[in-house]
């Protein structure tokens, strides 16, 4: 019985994941060909390792094309409509910490909460002839947070595929919803996070697809044990693991 485990295909996210699996006692044989998207666990041949982009992992878990995956919680909640029907979060892995936040220009001294943003959004059309624009790649999280949780309807989402934090200065949006770990990029762009503007606290998680949850217990247990021993590692290690590209 083959079990497919998907891992992030690049960056620090990949490195952290591989070192976690090594601590779990898995000997991973990366193909000699650097670009290969497949790997095997020499001492546990039932496991098939696939390297995918972090959002693809969320999709594949939702569809049940893979048994297990390691990806960010933010991507699960953004990409799956009803995550709890399709996946189960097994463990938070303690790296890749980052928050999805609502941020506005620092110069908006009158805006520090979502309630303030609501007022601004409501009057926007009257003052500017258009709705308030929010740049984000997280349209689902934004919509759930602002519309369903806070009852704010009057804004428009501008889908942004990169460098979202530059949108207010570029004039393509007024506000952003983006992922941030240290907040440094936001600060560099003169943006501030609203006091109650944290939509989701994300980190890397081990996630099981509910559609293919057979025979995964042993892997989950190995990873859990590795996590328990890793707790002794230095705190800098955690800080190094940043957002997942």
């Amino acid at each position: 019985m083959k079990i497919t485990l998907a891992l992030p295909s690049k960056g620090r996210f990949k490195e952290k994941t591989l070192s976690l699996l090594k601590n779990a006692g898995y000997e991973i044989s990366l193909s000699l060909e650097k670009r290969s998207y497949h790997a095997h666990v020499t001492n546990l041949p039932e496991i098939d390792i696939l390297f995918l982009s972090a959002s693809e992992i969320a999709h594949e878990l939702g569809n049940g094309n893979i048994n297990l995956g390691i990806t960010g919680k933010d991507l699960i909640y953004e990409n799956l409509t009803h995550p709890n029907e399709h996946i189960e979060i097994k463990y938070a892995l303690g790296f890749g910490h980052a928050n999805v936040v609502v941020a506005v220009p620092e110069i908006w001294h009158d805006v520090s909460t979502i309630a303030d943003l609501d007022d601004v959004a409501a009057d926007f059309r009257q003052h500017h002839g258009r709705r308030l624009r929010i740049a984000t790649k997280y349209w689902r999280l934004t919509q759930q947070f602002l519309s369903q949780k806070h009852g704010i309807q009057l804004y428009r989402i501008v889908e942004s595929l990169g460098a979202t934090e530059g949108a207010p200065a570029a004039g393509s949006a007024d506000v952003i919803v983006d992922i941030t770990s240290s907040g440094a990029t936001l600060a560099a762009n003169k943006l501030k996070i609203l006091n109650d503007g944290v939509i989701l606290k994300s980190q890397a998680c081990l996630i099981a697809s509910r559609h293919r949850s057979q025979n995964i217990d042993i892997i989950c247990k190995d990873i859990k044990n590795a996590l328990n021993t890793e707790k002794d590692s230095s705190p800098e290690e955690y800080l190094l693991a940043r957002s997942f590209a």
């Binding site: 409509t81 009803h82 220009p105 620092e106 110069i107 908006w108 001294h109 009158d110 520090s112 309630a115 303030d116 609501d118 007022d119 601004v120 409501a122 009057d123 059309r125 003052h127 500017h128 258009r130 709705r131 349209w139 689902r140 934004t142 919509q143 602002l146 519309s147 369903q148 806070h150 009852g151 309807q153 009057l154 804004y155 428009r156 989402i157 207010p168 200065a169 004039g171 007024d174 003169k190």
Partner: protein, 365 residues
């Protein structure tokens, strides 16, 4: 009954018998007007696609907005009515995606009370015509009365707008009222700003903010202007020590719990106005005129329920709203209707066009 041909035929017969203009609306519509008017909440409910050059399109999720756009583009004169019947498309958790709707929109009628009454009367008689067996319940609401109550209570402008925005969304409205009844949290502002805002020196505040904006590389012209920010800062500072008083809260709660048949509603509202010494004369006389017009349409006022808290939290509804429910299957809404005087201007009409209309959910009959 989904898309039942006999129902659609019955609707068409009703339109012909009543000399209504039937309008043909394309299934594929530009998506922006819907998202702009209704809000981003709609995005997860509609089917979006793109044209070859990237324009966002969607399968029509309702008829009112396309009918308005059609009216604006056609340059038709008012008064003018439009009738429609056809399929709309929405994403649902049940997997059903197509629903049939039929309705009538009336633009530019001079006598608003009469137009309101005629709209509800059409909704009832059309429903009786196509589904004579159905037992129905009628519910009406009025945004204008709530707006005037807030203004008569002399609440600060900012609060009036805020509270009015949540009208119809009772859970959020209660939350907001209890928030406003608590002392406001102090806002921490950097030094020169805090003094300028506290003493209300708007000119200096605007200058300072503009300077800061230029330094932050944010154009003071593309979005919120220094004046927008200064205005709101000063207002916020002024309201920082105010909270919604107990008597006001009591009056609002009492108003929002009024739920009574229309023949008794005017009396109840006048008693309420009298008890709290609120000047509601103007809005109540319009309410009465509408009730009289409904009576003249042969609608039994004792069968109409006025719920003071009933409204739609969309900014183009400012007045009369109504719903017809299935008496046997509460809370199934068979018909949604109301007055949306702001919508045509928001969609680009050059001058304001009063509008009232309704939609029947044919699949629910």
């Amino acid at each position: 009954m989904r898309g039942d041909k006999s129902l659609v035929d019955a609707v068409s017969n009703y339109f012909t018998q009543n000399n209504l203009t039937v309008v043909d609306i394309a299934i594929l519509q530009p998506a922006d007007p819907f998202l702009d008017m209704v809000g981003e909440n709609l995005r997860r409910l509609i089917f979006m696609t793109q044209s070859e050059n990237g324009d966002k399109l969607c399968l029509r999720p309702e008829f009112t907005i396309p009918v308005c756009l059609h009216h604006i583009a056609s340059g038709n004169t008012t008064p003018k009515n439009y009738a429609y019947v056809g399929e709309i498309f929405r994403q649902t958790s049940t997997g059903v995606t197509g629903f049939y709707q039929a309705g009538i929109e009336e633009f530019g009628a001079e006598n608003q009370a009469k137009a309101d009454a005629l709209s509800l009367s059409h909704a009832i008689s059309m429903l009786r015509y196509i589904a004579p067996e159905k037992n129905i319940k009628l519910l009406i609401g009025d945004h204008a009365i709530f707006a005037d109550v807030l203004s008569a209570l002399a609440l600060p402008q900012g609060w009036q707008k805020k509270i009015l925005r949540y009208f119809g969304n009772n859970k959020q409205l209660r939350l907001l009222l209890s928030d406003l009844a608590k002392p406001a949290e102090m806002i921490l502002l950097p030094p020169p700003i805090s003094q300028l805002a506290a003493c209300g020196n708007k000119t200096a505040l605007i200058q300072f903010i503009e300077q800061d904006m230029l330094e932050a590389d944010i154009s003071p012209k593309t979005g919120r202007t220094p004046k927008d920010i200064a205005d709101r800062l000063i207002e916020k500072q002024r309201l920082a020590h105010r909270q919604l008083g107990k008597p006001v809260l009591k009056a609002l709660n009492e108003f929002l719990s009024i739920n009574i048949s229309l023949d008794k509603a005017e009396h109840t509202l006048r008693k309420f106005a009298c008890r709290y010494k609120l000047a509601l004369e103007n809005v109540l006389s319009r309410f009465t005129a509408r009730a009289e017009a409904l009576d003249q349409q042969g609608i039994n006022l004792s069968e109409l329920r006025y719920n003071a808290a009933f409204g739609r939290s969309l900014d183009y509804y400012t007045n009369f709203v109504y719903e017809i429910h299935d008496d046997k299957r509460e809370p199934t809404i068979l018909v949604g209707g109301g007055r949306y005087d702001r919508l045509l201007t928001m969609l680009g009409a050059c001058s304001p066009i009063p509008a009232v209309g309704f939609s029947i959910w044919l699949d629910r009959l």
